[in-house]
């Protein structure tokens, strides 16, 4: 792999950009690998990357049924934050956020991490109390957040109407070191680094079966033939139930559609991320100038990657009240992704009933921010059989009633 640098850019500028390598090599499956990761989304690629980087396991394949990053990783609104309430969540999301800070340097790939700050508006007394509680919890967890008043909100976001008739802004939970990153670049950067370590990234190859002998995994069946492995990581988000079914167990997961939309590009008007959870909308401005908008999920099981119209309407209606200038914007595009929702709305990074099979899923509506930390923990779990960051996120917590109930705690899923 040739390193990207300012010198490389200058050199290539002088020879019409003829000398760039492919970012990652095209690969056909080998008969067997030490470890296979199913799913080349951010979480699968990061899991493979840290298997190599932190544990020296590089005889690894990442198998993807479509194209790399074509799942939720390439469909999300890229909010990165770690202001959770429960300790296990704060630990893994803060690890993740801190890895994001130096990820461009680590991967030698510009993932455009922008720590522009994330603001979660409090628009009811209940939310004020909730966020004060979160700010105190974060102080104990070592996550830098603070509760700010409406004047400071207005100062940071001049386009906001803090005196809205229905839901005035009473304050906000502010995490200055949270922000956004370029979603595709995260997938591409990890893929390039995996390929450089000699791993195979096999696209257009669907896993259709999981081979087992005596309760232990021996390989997978795919549309490109059978491939052997000692360890298998299932990292397929919305399709986790299908893969679990192939391995003979069930997960506490339901797949539903989550949508987002972007406006036409406009001049810079808002340089932080704002989430308004009571009215259920969130908003940031991309580097191209588009307003990036996300809202709520549908309530019914769905694999079609398109959601219901009325959710867009509700989201936009809510945001227009808080940001009146949005009413004049045209919306350019709208899309959906299939998110994997667990029973307690927290993720799963876990061993499974099948020896050698590990599962990483349940990130639902909020796993982009978790990609580096989740990959870090998943790699450790696959390499050593245990990981401190993953411990509380076992799939067996549902049997024991040891939920990590962030959804109720934070009142928001992403």
């Amino acid at each position: 792999m040739k390193r990207y640098s300012v010198f490389a850019v200058a050199r290539e500028a002088l020879r019409n950009h003829q000398g760039w390598d492919r970012a990652w090599a095209k690969a056909d499956p080998k008969p067997r690998y030490d470890a296979i990761v199913v799913g080349a989304g951010g979480h699968g690629l990061a899991s493979a990357y840290y298997l190599g980087r932190n544990h020296g396991i590089t005889n690894v394949a990442v198998i993807e049924k479509g194209w790399l990053g074509g799942g939720n990783t390439g469909r999300n609104t890229t909010i990165i934050r770690s202001n959770y309430l429960q300790d296990p969540s704060a630990a893994i999301y803060e690890k993740s956020r801190s890895l994001y800070e130096t990820l461009s340097q680590d991967l030698n790939y510009n993932i455009m991490f922008s720590p522009r700050g994330v603001m979660m508006l409090a628009q009811t007394q209940h939310e004020v109390r909730g966020y004060l509680r979160t700010a105190h919890a974060n102080a104990l967890q070592g996550v830098a957040t603070e509760f700010i008043g409406p004047e400071r909100v207005k100062e940071l976001v001049p386009i906001i109407d803090t005196n809205g008739p229905r839901y005035p802004v009473l304050g906000a939970l502010w995490q200055p070191r949270a922000g956004t990153a370029r979603h595709d670049a995260v997938a591409w950067g990890y893929a390039r680094a995996c390929s450089a370590m000699g791993m195979d990234i096999i696209q257009n190859c669907e896993v259709t079966g999981i081979r087992r002998e005596g309760g232990k995994v021996t390989g997978v069946e795919t549309t490109k033939g059978a491939i052997g492995c000692d360890r298998l990581g299932i990292v397929v988000a919305g399709h986790s139930s299908q893969l679990a079914d192939m391995a003979g167990f069930r997960l506490p997961i339901e797949s539903v559609a989550l949508q987002a939309l972007v406006s036409e590009p406009i001049k810079p008007c808002m340089d932080v991320v704002v989430m308004a959870n009571t009215v259920h909308g969130y908003l940031s401005q991309s580097d191209k100038g588009e307003m990036v908008i996300g809202g709520g999920t549908d309530g019914f099981n769905n694999y079609t990657q398109r959601g219901s119209w009325h959710h867009i309407e509700e989201t936009v209606r809510a945001l227009v009240e808080t940001f009146p200038m949005l009413s004049r914007l045209k919306m350019l595009r709208q899309w959906g992704g299939i998110v994997d929702m667990t029973g307690d709305r927290s993720p799963i990074i876990s061993k499974t009933p099948v020896e050698g099979v590990f599962v990483n899923c349940g990130w639902g509506t909020g796993g982009f921010k978790a990609i580096p930390g989740s990959g870090w923990a998943m790699a450790e779990l696959m390499a050593k059989g245990a990981s401190p960051l993953a411990e509380e996120f076992s799939m067996f917590r549902f049997r024991e009633g040891k939920f990590i109930d962030e959804s109720v705690a934070a009142g928001v899923a992403h």
Partner: protein, 108 residues
Amino acid sequence: MLILTCPCCGVAAEETELQPGGEAHLKRFGPGSSDDAFEAYMFARANPKGVHFERWRHAYGCGKWFLAARCTATLEVFGTYSAQTKEPPAEIVTKIRAKRPDWAGWSA
């Protein structure tokens, strides 16, 4: 927009009138059952990509619960039926079989 006909009042109801209630025909396990059975009842879900039996409530209509058979991969609706049933009715199963010959069938 998803439209389901409520078998209780006969109204062809739009999605915004309805409240989804998750997988149907779950067998209830309560106190005294094994941890495995209770966990499976509470959390483990089939979540199929394809034929799905599910609960709905006509929340902004007659208020009653009913069941629906739907395809989660295409959003096609096979039919709706009364919630007072322990398994999908024969005519719905026949209809699904005609449209989805590869369907593995319903199992408890």
